[in-house]
């Protein structure tokens, strides 16, 4: 079971609207030994369509993990979390919030809504890369992710 799982790349869904952040996160994630398949959507509406395999995402597979920004156009990350955690087939997908917001209300609210961990984007390119690397290393090498069917 273990080996068959590790042969498959880990499927990551990144929900992020800021182009520079997308680029940095993408490069950092892909620049590692960990084999992963990264899909990117830019707002909450597309995130929910992707997760429900609707419209242009009809071929999408459920991700093993979601990296989610909070302040997003159309539907923000807070709503995405609440919707995901109330859907039986989505609620066990780990969600890592990666946001500039360090407002206590967001932190408390997101943990209450069932986010798996809350990480803030630090200032500075190198610090940002280090945080992304740390998220990748912990979630993709230390943690057991649920097997998505």
């Amino acid at each position: 079971m273990e080996t068959s799982k590790q042969l498959q790349p880990i499927k990551v869904l990144l929900v992020e609207d800021d182009e520079a952040d997308v680029e940095l996160i993408r490069e950092t994630l892909l620049d590692s030994k960990i084999s992963l398949k990264l899909d990117i959507v830019n707002d909450g509406v597309d995130a929910m369509r992707y997760l429900s395999q609707k419209d242009k995402f009809s071929d999408a597979m459920l991700p093993d993990i979601v990296i989610l920004d909070l302040n997003l156009p159309r539907k923000d990350g807070r709503e995405v979390i609440i919707e995901m955690k109330s859907e039986p087939h989505l609620m066990n997908i780990p969600v890592v919030v990666l946001t500039t917001s360090d407002a206590e209300t967001d932190i408390v609210r997101m943990y209450d809504a069932g986010v798996n961990c809350y990480v803030t984007k630090p200032f500075g390119l190198e610090q940002f890369q280090n945080v992304v690397k740390a998220v990748e290393k912990f979630w993709m090498t230390v943690v057991k992710l649920p097997e998505m069917k």
Partner: protein
């Protein structure tokens, strides 16, 4: 950012029945540069009692993080997790599952119940230490924990 955070120790509630695992986890956590205060409960009932007696005047502090074994006597980790997540004042505490079980049903079920992450105890002392260090480093230097 990190330095301000490390002034006050992080409170951990370790819920684990195996004495050797308690010892090893404790040693590893305490040897780190990250300052921690650790409470230990040896089964789900003891943990639940602790969580229900948190108060400003009795020295029982709300944990910043729970490290929770699954297979324990009296009340197991699954049941404790379920109880914690139904309590508004406790549900935001991140719960790290640390268990020997790698049964898919346990993994899915505990994520469904609201576990923050699921980590299996590796075989071998060195590997075990590494995993505990990784948990400590990630949760206390990278993650924003809920405010106390």
């Amino acid at each position: 950012m990190v330095s301000a955070q490390t002034i006050a120790p992080f409170n951990i509630l370790l819920v684990e029945d195996d004495p050797a695992d308690v010892e090893l986890t404790l040693d590893t956590l305490e040897q780190s540069k990250i300052l921690v205060h650790i409470e230990i409960a040896n089964d789900g009932i003891a943990a639940w009692e602790y969580l229900n007696s948190i108060g400003a005047n009795n020295g029982k502090t709300k944990p910043d993080l729970l490290i929770l074994d699954l297979n324990m006597p009296k009340m197991d980790g699954r049941e404790l997790l379920e109880k914690i997540k139904t309590r508004p004042e406790l549900r935001s505490i991140p719960v790290v599952i640390l268990t020997t079980s790698d049964a898919e049903i346990d993994i899915i079920r505990t994520y469904n119940l609201g576990a923050s992450c699921y980590v299996t105890k590796p075989i071998g002392l060195e590997e075990f230490t590494k995993v505990v260090n990784a948990i400590q480093e990630f949760w206390f230097t990278i993650v924003k924990l809920p405010p106390r």
